[in-house]
Assembly symmetry: C2
Homo-oligomer: 220 residues x 2
Amino acid sequence: MTNKTKSAYAISKQLLQRLPLYLDYLKNFADREGYISAPLIANAMKLNEVQVRKDLASVSSSGGKPKSGFAAGPLIRDIEKFLGYDNEDEAVIVGVGHLGRALMHYRGFEEYGLKILMGFDTDEGLTGTNIGDKQILHISKMRDVCERLKIHIGIITVPAGSAQEVCDQMVEAGIIAIWNFAPVHLTVPDHVVVQNVNLASSLVILTKRMAEKLAEKEEF
Amino acid sequence: MTNKTKSAYAISKQLLQRLPLYLDYLKNFADREGYISAPLIANAMKLNEVQVRKDLASVSSSGGKPKSGFAAGPLIRDIEKFLGYDNEDEAVIVGVGHLGRALMHYRGFEEYGLKILMGFDTDEGLTGTNIGDKQILHISKMRDVCERLKIHIGIITVPAGSAQEVCDQMVEAGIIAIWNFAPVHLTVPDHVVVQNVNLASSLVILTKRMAEKLAEKEEF
DNA sequence: AAAATATTGTTAAAATATTTTCAATTATGC
DNA sequence: GCATAATTGAAAATATTTTAACAATATTTT
């Protein structure tokens, strides 16, 4: 009986959110030849130092040296590997409006291991045009393209109203991971994962925290 | 002595992330005149029903009726009020690249209570132009504008390399809440809050979960 | 070479968040 | 009207995540 079911110990969402931050910090502020300590990172990120140590321990086997910290270079490589930034995934995007366009233009995703191959839209005016080096095709071609190129990741940047419909078409086309930028909850079969980029949540958290700060101030 | 320090009981980030989802669901699927039950919402969101009940109880005082559920209309209003979608905040955006453009075009933020008033950039070519009805000004004007209009929210959509610099300028200009789309950690004084929109994290979570699903499948 | 110090890694405790359990309540069907 | 089923709300139990405590170890200083 194999027992890789829960790939090691199951990775917490929180950890997955912190790792890219560490990575960014390491890349920008650490001397790759030198050492960097958990307290230093923790201080910069306003996190607990044990948290950082634990996180690092869970993705890197190289370990740290007392008094010095962790070797920056190997640590960066380990985090990148863990996050899958080295093995490239291919994706398609549906909805070539302002946001879809912006995402298609953004070069940075390739650094994270995601390559957006092409875009789809219902608008006949867009069909056949290019965004950078990426073709825009009519949505009706999506299924065929995805099946032939074995693309498993779909990005949804259509208006809320058509998101579920696009989602269903993606599932039909064999997509198993959907990155959803539409502010709606998508219903999918069990074998499909959806990750919502919820700008509304993010914005709410910001304004709530701002309000708290302002309230604190008024106290005095 | 006032005692609104911790505005009620301190709101958890998780709750703040779930509320917009409930709201979306309610608006799209609930009959506003009728009733909707926690188990129904929970089922649609793949959440625990008690979780939903607790969340709803913490933002709405109207309460539910056994066997029927919650009155949809009042519930929607309560959530919107709690999330602050009714009182509008004004913001400026710095960095009018593809992403900045996309955000400036997006009408949806006003629904969430955020109005982007104008954009700033260092590019002299953009200065003086408009994006929709919004002016683009040179970054050197930001401080003056923010101070005079008493703008407290800044959105950063510049490349990683200049994000900290822009952030510092915002703080100088009296901004106390920063919505940061650049993939870097920003260092700010204590009175300023930063909310990162971390597309890298989000993407990682998606691809990790996809990988898990694929691994599960291979089990059999 | 010995003492002081900073950092690691581990274990234990505390704090948070989620899920289970269950009595009370209200609509529905007989 | 009375029994049944569904749902609420609150309390208790679990699970998870974060923080604190501490012994072990490597560097630096005296």
